[in-house]
Every structure is written in C-alpha cells, then in structure tokens.
C-alpha cells in the first residue's frame, strides 16, 4: 500500500515554466506554485487573441480598410471628382486575362459602345472588342497628395491613358471605385473621431463620477440619464435646420461628429462608473490610500489601467455603429455634404428606384459598409474574449 517515495521528486506543475527562485528551504516544500510564466497582461491578451481565427480575420480586414483609407489616393485609379464624359452610368468593366484570339494575355478591359434599343429607346452598353485598354500597375494619373507631398502614381490604370471603371460610373461619369476608396477616408475619419472623443469624455466623466461619488456622482448620473433619454434621430434631422444654408462641408462634418459624440459618451461613462465603484473598494486602491497617494495618482495608476480593457473593447464596438449611422444619415442627406465623399453620400445617389434599376453598381458602398462593420465587430469580439481576465484557457 505504502510506496517508497523519492524525496527529491518534486516536479513543477508546468515543466517548461521558468522557475521563480524560492527563497528559503521551507518554501521549496510548498506545493503552492506560481501560475504561468512571466507574461504581462498585454502579452497574454495578444496570445489569446492570435488563437482566435475569427478575430484575426477581423483584424486583417480592419487593417486593410485602414490602409485603404490612408493611401486612398494611391489605391483609387482616379480622383473622386474626375469626370469621364464619355461614360455616364457606365456599368462595371471586368478585367479579362483571356485574349479574344485565345490564350492568356496581360489583363485588359474592353471599352463600351453605346447602343440604343430601337423599341424602348433605352441606352445599353455593350463591350466593344475594338476598344481594348491594357491594365498595368503603378501608372501615372491624377495627382494626389499625401502628407503635403504630391504624387501621380496609382496602383492600377491603363497603359494608354484610357478610362477603366472597375465598378462603373455614376450620373456624372465619376468612377465609383475611386469614389468608394476615397469615401473610406471620410467614413473612417468620422468613426475614429467620434470614437476617440466619446471615449475621452466618457472615461473622464465615468471614472470621476464613480471615484468621487456623492453629490457629484448624483448630478452626473442625472445628466447621463437625460442624454440617454434623448431621441437621437430627430436631433440629427434638426441638425439640418440649425445649419446655415451654405455651410462649409467641413463645418457640417465637424458639427455632425460632435452631435454623434454628444449622444454616445453617456453609455461608456455609465458602464465605467459601475466598474470604478467596484475597483475603488479593491484592496490595492486602499493600500495606495494607505501609502498616501493622491486621488490623481490613484486614478491614473490604479483605476484607469484596470478599466482600459473595458474602454478598448467598447471603442472597437463603437466604430461599426458610427459607420452605420453615418451612412444612414448621409443617405438621408443629413450627414456628410458634397463635395466630401463618404459611403453614405454615394448611396444618396440611389435614393430613387429609377437610378437603382438603371445603375445597380452604385450600391457598391453597401458592400464596403458590410465588410467593414463585420471586420470591426469580429475584431471587437476577439478582443473582448482575449481581454477577459476570467477565461481559464
């Protein structure tokens, strides 16, 4: 029954774990071992996140979208305002790699010839085998600026300077693909601006209200409730009414963003308040009080770092919401104003059934909206799972 045991047989729980030096002879006897190797919280988060495929795909999607926004001038073949007078409502051109005479060739697109239906007088676009534009990478085209420098190189274009409309054109002959790429910039800028500002305000209000409590907390919470009870749609529509008739698009953009911020910070501040109230009574906060730390230090060093995961996750969920809201309002004509291009303003062009039936490719930004919302949500989900301190895997 009793087995002889080797007294030196004390294996650690995880064999590849770096051993923490144990100070005394008696301590070596204890089975209590430290858990896990020396990973900081953020290293752990990164590791957990990378294991989650859905989240990683989301992250890649988000990065692509952000890169598109930053280098929109390079990725878009044309400027958003460049008009191709020969192609109004021209359908998308598919790049082809099979030559008509057979065999593989360099990618090319065919130009369109306009034909009129003799019965309905409807104008139709038919690919014209005579007009062939070869596609090439890094071609010269419309100038674009980046960080104050002017460039002329674009990712794709035709060798002979002819137009290629990968996603067709709109009523003025502007390239839908180029405008969509350019729109990424405004839409994302709006998203990030609103997210950053509402995070900033929400954090300050939420943390201070939770930390100081008392009358201040009571007042702040009543304000939060007031803000949250506001019907937001009428407020957005009222924006049109209060704006000057010929307002600068930039002013409209900023006003629009501030109204979004005004209505969004409240959620975060309420969530954080609850979290801070529970953190405030943690022993490590009380120890900080016991060593004489100031409120400022306690908030900055103890409270905010421990709510950071919450804030970050909230922010990643906020972005897709703002993107959706922006497109919705711009679609109604309330949000971003021309000549600024956003996905919503592009959709504004397909408000009526006729243009929708005639040129369904104008709906292309919907695809971008869906992709970006999915990507940011997937990224947010992955982050939330990775940051959950209680997940035991």
């Amino acid at each position: 029954m009793k087995q002889p045991h080797n007294p030196t047989d004390d294996k650690p729980m995880v064999d590849n774990r770096p051993q923490i030096d144990v100070p005394t002879a008696t301590e070596t006897m204890n089975a209590e071992t430290a858990t896990g190797p020396g990973l900081s919280y953020w290293q752990l988060v990164r590791r957990r996140f990378l294991r989650n495929r859905y989240g990683v795909v989301g992250l890649i999607g988000c990065l692509l979208i952000v890169i598109t926004a930053v280098f929109s001038g390079f990725i878009a073949p044309y400027d958003g305002e460049t008009k191709d007078r020969t192609a109004i409502y021209s359908p998308p051109q598919m790049p082809k790699v099979f030559a008509p005479e057979g065999g593989l060739t360099r990618p090319y697109v065919l130009g369109y010839a306009e034909e009129m239906d003799p019965n309905t007088f409807e104008i139709k676009f038919v690919p014209d085998p005579e007009v062939r534009h070869n596609l090439a990478l890094f071609v010269k085209g419309d100038p674009w600026t980046f960080l104050g420098l002017e460039f002329e190189t674009h990712l794709v274009g035709t060798t002979d300077g002819g137009f290629v409309h990968l996603l067709g054109t709109d009523s003025l002959g502007r390239d839908v693909f180029s405008r969509m790429v350019e729109g990424t910039r405004v839409t994302l800028l709006m998203g990030f601006l609103v997210m950053a500002a509402s995070c900033f305000i929400g954090t300050i209000v939420g943390v201070s209200s939770g930390y100081f409590g008392g009358v201040f907390d009571m007042l702040v919470q009543r304000i939060v409730e007031f803000v949250r009870s506001f019907p937001d749609l009428p407020l957005y529509l009222a924006l049109v009414a209060i704006l000057p008739r010929r307002a600068d698009p930039i002013t409209v953009f900023i006003l629009f963003a501030s109204i979004l911020v005004l209505l969004r910070w409240a959620d975060l501040s309420r969530e954080l308040r609850g979290k801070v109230i529970s953190l405030r009574s943690m022993d490590y906060v009380r120890s900080a009080v016991a060593v004489g730390a100031s409120d400022q230090r306690i908030i900055g060093r103890h409270i905010v770092p421990n709510t950071s995961s919450h804030i970050i996750v909230w922010a990643t969920y906020q972005l897709p919401e703002v993107i959706l809201l922006e497109s919705f309002l711009s679609f109604l004509g309330v949000g971003v104003q021309a000549p600024m291009v956003s996905w919503g303003t592009m959709l504004n062009q397909v408000r009526d059934f006729q243009s929708f039936a005639a040129a369904p490719w104008l709906m292309a930004p919907v695809g971008m909206i869906v992709i970006s919302v999915l990507a940011f949500n997937a990224f947010g989900d992955g982050l939330r799972d990775a940051m959950d301190p209680y997940s035991n895997d």
Binding site: V14, T24, M29, T33, D283, A290, G292, N392
Partner: protein, 536 residues
C-alpha cells in the same frame, strides 16, 4: 476490509491553457470503502479538488482525463458513462459539498424548494411528500427551527446554516458516497467545529463513504480513517491517519505536520511607551431601507465605544467572528475609514479629524497589510512599481537607483528574491504575494502595521511561515502590530495582548496567555475550543 466503494486508478487530468498543458493530476490512485472517511490533504494547486471534480465528471471544458484513467464506483467505470447516465448518479448516489455555501445555493429560490427539487429529480413524488422529507433532513442536519427554514431564502441564513442546508441537499437521496470539498474553510472557526461533528455523525448513521478534501491537518486528524497526502498532482504519502500522524515517512508530510503556527511572541519591554492609542472609538453604518416615500435609516453600530492601546513593540491581537467589527475598528484607527467618534493618538499626536493631506506625514509611519493577497496587488503593475509607489508619493529616495536599493532591502526582509521586481503579481503564489504585500508596508519603514487577517486566505503551512516572518520583522525593525484574526492559534504565536470582540463590543481583554488559558466568558471559551480542539 470489504470491497472499496470508490476506487480510482491512475487518474490523469490535464488542462490545456494558454501557457501550454498543465498536468494537474498525475496518475493518482486511491480507494474508499463504505463507512470510511478518506482525507485528501494538500495545499492549493495540488490537484485534490480537480480529482473530486473528475469523479463527478464536472471538470472545466479545457480539461482532459487521461486514457488509462479508471474511476470505479460500485463496479462501474464512471468515465465510460454518458452524461445522461452520470446525471442519474450525481446528487443521487454520489453527492458533493462545496467550499462556498454562499454561492452554491440559488439566491432566488427558497431553500426548502431547492432541496425538494433534488429529491424530486431522482425520485418522482408529490411536492408535499418531498417537503416532508426535506423537513426530516433539516432536522437531521440540526438546523434550528427547521419548519420555518423551509420557506427562507439563502440570504436570510448565516454561513453555517447555509452549509447545513448544503449538507441536507447532499444527503437528500441517501448517497453512498459523499465528497466534501473544503466544507469548513469558508466558515467561522466556531462553526467549523460544529459542521465537522455533524458530518461525522451523519456518516455513521448513513454508513456512507466520505472523501474529505482539506488543507487543514487538524481536521484530518480528528475526522478521517485514512489519509492521502498530495503534492503536484501526485500522492506523496498514504496510510491510516493515526500511522501517518504518528510516523510520517515523506519529508513533505513532516513539513505539513510541523507547519502549525508555533512559538511565542518575544518579550515585551514593560516600560515601552504607548504608540497607538484609540479612545472611545465609534463607527456606525447608516443603512437605508423602506420605500421612496417612507425612507428610514437604521444606524448599525459596528464599533461601539472601544478603547485600545498599543505600546511600542507590542502586538495586539483582535479576535472575533466575522461581523464582530474587528476589521472596522482597525481601519478606523489607521484612518482608512471615517470613525463617527473617538480619539486616536499616534505617538503623542492626535490624528483623528486630520484631513487626508494632513494625514500624509503619518502614512509612512502607519501601514497596513490586507487579508486577500490576490486583490491587494494591482494586477497591471510590476512588483517594482507596486513597492515604489509609497516611496515616490512620499518623496523617499532621491533617484530611481536609490529607490531600487530600498525596494531590494524590503524584498530581502520578506525573503523574496530581488528579481521579483520585474514580475507581475499573478506570477506568484498566495504566500509569495502576501510576502510582497508585507514588503510594500515594510519598504516605508513604518512604526505601526495593521495586519488584517494576513494569513487567513493562505494555506496552513504557509500561514506558519508568514507568522515567523512577521515575528522576525517585528524584532528587526522594532515594529508594533495590531493583528486582526479569527484564529486563536495564530494569535497565540504572535500576540502579547489580545482583545476579544463580539457585535462591536469588547468581551474580554488581557495578556494572550491569560485569556487563552483561563477564558472568562463563554464566547471566548468557544473560540478557544474551536481553535485548539476542532471536534468537540
């Protein structure tokens, strides 16, 4: 001995975690027969609870049981059974009592209904009949006033009463095997003894096999027939309890047996001047109740006009059950909590009524160590930052190098390696964390430290080391302690004087030896019995 009722062979449990695979249990075997109590002893992390969960097949999702593992229960291998078949056995033939009676009962259902549900699941019967059985069970577990308890909610009961309900629940279907996972750890000492006595009696009357999981060796000695000592998921030693206690073979078992807190507080200079004096301390919490229109306030007096005095170099023990106001008193004395009245004098200066700013100069001189080492260290900071905070805030040490040296000395003091500085709290075990929490107090070179149950969240064998450490530090730095505890064993090893509290009042006070050897009140006597006798 007859055939064992439960026989586990070569049980292996692995957890797949972010750090790789953790082998929680490595080839464990033991057996229990009917009417026998097997104690499974080990410190936290030794895999004793994981094994119990494996028997119940209640392991976490990332756990894997080894292919060669066998859990024979009355002739069947439980690991072969489907989840549906296991449901038949769980709560019926094998039941389990958990450590935390607060969280294992559903707060929104009456306790009577919760126990009746267990009966009805396994033995369909009318509600009335089930309730009658519940009443019988409640009588059996000696719940006071059993009829009235049936319709009570868990929050209306004390911890000990809830644990009795849990036991009634476990016994509801007359199980053959009862697994008790640290059934008394979360309870007050005086209640612990009662629950253990009850368990022992019930085992006899039901002829059950009991697997008792615990880290408390006193409990093992008093209640079990056989014992298995575990470390790192393996059996270190096994045998009859008496044999193992009389003649431990493995050094680890010897270490566990020797780790009872022992020793005496060192001599106190009789002429020492009083350092911390509190007079007529009063703390009351205002509790609002009633509706919006009929708001009423009740003042709950947590500390009722208590005076205490601690001389330089003295350790004063404050003892009492939970809710007796001992922590509140301590926190109010060091001004982490606002007292409603009373005078506090520290080294001749009045510190009650000082603002937080005015308190600053005293903060380095008065320090605190909290009960739970897992919540007292900020998880986002490395140890260096945690220890440095007090130095930075109080402007001690001219530059980073000087501060680092001070931190290093503090780590030496608590016998932690200096390279701990660059690590995060989660890399340390409970005992190590408590050393670090002590280092945070010591680094400021205080004169007075409030110790709020610094050992009660720790395993017994580590408690003893922390007590030794505290005693050494006291002598080395000429510290004075106020030591809050519910465990008189620890108090005996560390404190010169002791103060017994109940419901916010002082019941008894005097030199430790006098209070412990000749307790004047019934309450103190009960505390002493609970600490030194376990099963009365």
């Amino acid at each position: 001995m007859t055939d064992p009722l439960l026989k586990i062979e070569n049980v292996v449990v692995d957890f797949r975690t972010i750090h790789g695979t953790v082998n929680a249990v490595r080839g464990l075997s033991y057996e229990v027969a009917r009417g026998e109590t097997l104690a499974v002893v080990g410190e936290s992390g030794s895999g004793k609870s994981v094994t119990a969960r494996a028997i119940m097949s209640m392991l976490a999702e990332n756990a894997r049981v080894g292919a060669d593992s066998r859990i024979w229960f009355d002739g069947t291998d439980l690991l072969e059974l489907s989840e549906l078949e296991m449901q038949e056995i769980r709560g019926n033939r094998i039941s389990m009592i958990f450590q935390e009676p607060l969280t294992s009962l559903n707060p929104i259902h009456r306790v009577g209904d919760q126990v009746a549900e267990i009966i009805q699941i396994h033995r369909p019967m009318p509600k009335k009949q089930a309730m009658a059985e519940v009443l019988k069970l409640f009588q059996e577990v000696q719940l006071p006033d059993p009829e009235a308890r049936l319709s009570q909610y868990p929050h209306e009961m004390s911890g000990g009463q809830r644990q009795r309900v849990m036991i009634a629940m476990a016994l509801a279907n007359k199980p053959d095997l009862l697994i008790a996972d640290e059934p008394t750890t979360a309870l007050d000492v005086t209640v612990q003894a009662e629950i253990l006595t009850l368990l022992k009696d019930l085992q006899k009357s039901h002829n059950m096999a009991v697997v008792l999981i615990t880290h408390d060796l006193t409990v093992v000695e008093k209640t079990s027939d056989k014992v298995v000592v575990m470390r790192y998921g393996e059996v270190v030693e096994r045998g009859n309890t008496q044999d193992v206690f009389a003649n431990p073979q493995h050094p680890y078992t010897r270490h566990l047996l020797e780790s009872e807190p022992k020793g005496r507080p060192d001599e106190l200079d009789p002429d020492a001047a009083p350092l911390m004096v509190a007079k007529d301390m009063r703390v009351a919490f205002r509790i609002a109740h009633g509706g919006l229109m009929s708001r009423k306030h009740v003042d709950l007096v947590a500390v009722n006009d208590i005076s205490a005095s601690i001389r330089r170099g003295e350790t004063l023990g404050v003892v009492g059950e939970s809710g007796s106001g001992k922590t509140t008193l301590g926190m109010a004395m060091i001004r982490l909590l606002e007292p409603n009245g009373g005078q506090i004098t520290f080294d001749g200066e009045r510190i009650d009524g000082l603002t937080r700013k005015q308190m600053r100069p005293f903060r380095t001189r008065i320090q605190v160590v909290f009960q739970d080492p897992f919540s007292s260290l900020n998880p986002r900071m490395i140890i260096r930052q945690i220890l440095e905070e007090g130095l930075i805030v109080n402007g001690i040490g001219k530059n980073a190098a000087e501060r680092e040296e001070l931190i290093g000395q503090a780590l030496d003091d608590v016998q932690m390696p200096r390279d701990a500085m660059q690590r995060f709290p989660h890399e340390f075990s409970g005992g190590q964390r408590q050393r670090l929490a002590i280092a945070r107090a010591v680094v400021l070179q205080p004169e007075f430290i409030l110790l709020d149950e610094p050992t009660s969240a720790l395993d017994l064998s580590i408690q003893a080391q922390i007590i030794d450490l505290l005693r050494d530090l006291r002598a080395k730095h000429d510290l004075s302690y106020m030591f809050i505890s519910h465990d008189l064993k620890v108090v005996k090893a560390l404190c010169h004087n002791v103060m017994v509290m109940q419901h916010g009042d002082i019941i008894e006070t005097g030199p430790t030896s006098q209070v412990l050897e000749a307790p004047k009140t019934e309450y103190t006597k009960r505390l002493v019995d609970a600490a030194f006798k376990v099963v009365a």
